[in-house]
Symmetry: C2
Subunit: 405 residues, 2 copies
């Protein structure tokens, strides 16, 4: 399985293992009390915002005025992007829901949902979208008939409080799906929901397995002396790097996205990168889906959910590969671009505020369109199963400044 006609001579580019390093562990939290204080402050802010919104409604009613709630408009037309801020953010357009005879049910449901959130923050509990829908079956006339209705109310509440920097997860509404898998030079600090005692989870100690990110990560803190986070598109490549302890030789943290990353995965990487000042490198397939749907969503967010970007996007992310140029440099096996790929790439060039801002990306996508092919990250296995570990990644990581933005 050795590389037989490998396109470049083998160089000693591997970095020294981390065991010899003595750098201090990066972390913003020192002990259980600090973790607790920080989480309590976040909860307090969320409760304050809920109570504030409710009091406003209450005050209007006492003054015999019609109460209303103002929600940001969630649509592509109400999205802004600037290189400096680094992510899609929601614009200033609002829609107002005023309490009238016609809107009374939706208005009541919104307030009950906010009440549920407050109750969950106070009892340190949480609910998925489905949980919240079924909970409402006990709300008598305010019960939801379909989950799509409760989902929509939840989305509105999320957008409402996102303006104050409070995320859905801080409101204790959590996604139904888990986050991805993590392995490498990282301690995750997770306070027990009852006792507050901190579990220190060492991500170097999972053998061939990995740490599975919980549905919500707001309460987690980190300690690490890693140099970077490597986020990986496919489970197969993650398993290879994990089984061969690539995180040890490269002093990094590996995160498996398994396709488009879930909310929990994106939030986990964002928090980790923010709190430990770590660069994030993305390793995905070289096709318009990997570039646009996976990488772009990870880095700046998506158009129809711009109110989430402030929490979920990872503006620190840079694109390690596979790049269109890699297909040539590494003589990778390819597949022809499908019509849907071509459409997606042209859309990105024409309509996507992120790609429009970055000349390097325009050049790379045009190159891909001209070549008319795509390549998967596992195509590197042509040169040997572990070529990715022994050659490709070390060469790439020696020149991080050349990564696409």
């Amino acid at each position: 399985m050795a590389a037989r006609r490998s396109p470049a001579p083998k160089k000693k580019t591997r970095k020294k293992t981390s065991t010899g390093r003595k750098a201090p562990r990066k972390s913003i939290v020192r002990d259980a009390r600090e973790v607790k204080r920080r989480n309590e402050a976040l909860d307090k802010l969320a409760v304050k915002k809920i109570v504030g919104a409710a009091r406003d409604v209450h005050d209007h009613i006492l003054k015999r005025k019609k109460p209303d709630l103002e929600f940001p408009v969630r649509s592509l037309r109400n999205v802004q992007y600037s290189k400096k801020q680094g992510y899609f953010s929601i614009g200033k357009q609002k829609k107002v829901r005023t309490l009238t005879v016609n809107t009374v049910k939706g208005f009541a449901q919104t307030l009950r949902m906010m009440g549920l959130s407050k109750e969950m923050i106070e009892t340190n509990d949480f609910a998925t979208k489905r949980d919240a829908y079924y909970q409402s079956k006990n709300w008598e006339d305010a019960r939801f008939d379909e989950q799509s209705e409760s989902d929509s109310v939840m989305d509105d509440i999320e957008a409402l409080f996102s303006v104050d920097g409070v995320s859905r997860e801080q409101l204790r509404f959590v996604p139904d799906e888990h986050g991805g898998a993590v392995a490498g030079q990282l301690l995750v600090l997770d306070p027990d929901r009852d006792t507050g005692e901190i579990e220190r989870i060492d991500c170097t100690r999972f053998g061939s397995g990995a740490y599975s990110i919980p549905s919500t990560v707001e309460h987690l803190s980190f300690e690490t002396d890693a140099d970077f986070v490597l986020v990986i598109e496919t489970g197969g490549v993650f398993q290879r790097l994990q089984s061969h302890k690539f995180w040890q030789s490269s002093n990094c943290i590996l995160v498996s996205m398994a396709g488009v990353p879930t909310r929990a995965t994106r939030r986990f990487v964002r928090k980790l990168s923010d709190e430990c000042a770590l660069p994030v490198y993305a390793f995905v397939d070289c096709d318009p889906y990997g570039i646009s749907n996976i990488y772009r969503t990870l880095k700046v967010g998506s158009g129809n959910a711009a109110h989430l970007s402030q929490f979920f996007c990872v503006p620190q992310a840079r694109y390690l590969g596979v790049t269109p140029q890699d297909i040539l440099d590494y003589e990778l096996p390819t597949h022809p671009l499908q019509d849907v790929d071509i459409k997606r790439a042209k859309d990105a060039l024409k309509n996507d505020p992120f790609f429009r801002e970055h000349a390097e990306w325009q050049k790379a996508i045009r190159q891909l369109l001209k070549m008319g092919v795509r390549a998967e990250q596992q195509a590197l296995a042509k040169w040997g199963l572990n070529y990715v570990i022994e050659e490709y990644l070390p060469r790439k990581l020696a020149q991080t400044t050349r990564f696409l933005p």
Copy 2:
């Protein structure tokens, strides 16, 4: 969020916590040497079978006869089920591939693929289907043009050696997707692929996170004093049980399937159940998909992959719920059965060897069809977010003999 109109009075059905127990840890392996010996024996068997098949071809050629390879037929027509054996098994029908001018490429590819497997066993490495496809790009005339071709050859090889009790994972071909998440009273023993040193992974120590099952689990061993394994359909319910440490109060191991369980998840549960003699209880949605596609596949396997059942099915599994009767007993919110649900249920009654064998299942499925509705496991949240932990599961677990087979 307390249960307001809960359908039955609260009873003290919770089991004693495990901390008071002094039962010996169940395990079939005692130390690193034993783990190593066991894994080496499995590898030796696999290599022996590969070499045997190759030698047979070689001998035929030396005798100037046409060599051939005999593969079991992979189709529903070639499947057997008996209650006693407990899973779908592959029948006696074979297809023979003889080396001729027309079959030479496929024949050569099959042998190269077997050679790759032998090489990976000897170097303790592994490949996904994609890896194997791309590896072949260096096989000159034996290279595959499409991944569907290499997948098909791999399936044949898997079926070929399954007759000798050797699984695809033992041949070192691993799935591209990870397994599910695990939490609870379990130590996973995972030998390092280079040093053989054993990592002991304590699944009680992951806070709100979990252990993510690796792509292949053949090399793992276990230590546990849990009473049972609870496999859960949705990530949301798993997160609830994990965050509230249900595994502690009920002395069990929680496994999240996140829909139809992956190969790695099924194999993990099967090994765990076999090696530690643990019962497995399934907690899924009450609909024909949960019953037939998720539970039935977990327990006895699926028709078109019967050669896998001996490794991947979990005959020890029993159905905790949600049952059609639970919908009535717990007054659960429901959705109407769709046409596709009704078709799936009628198919199960008429054509599925598993459901045909079990009168209790026929009765339950007929009841569901008569009621014309389905219910999700999260519907229990109607009675309070934690009703599932405080009432439903303890009541169910007090009467495990009543579980559907």
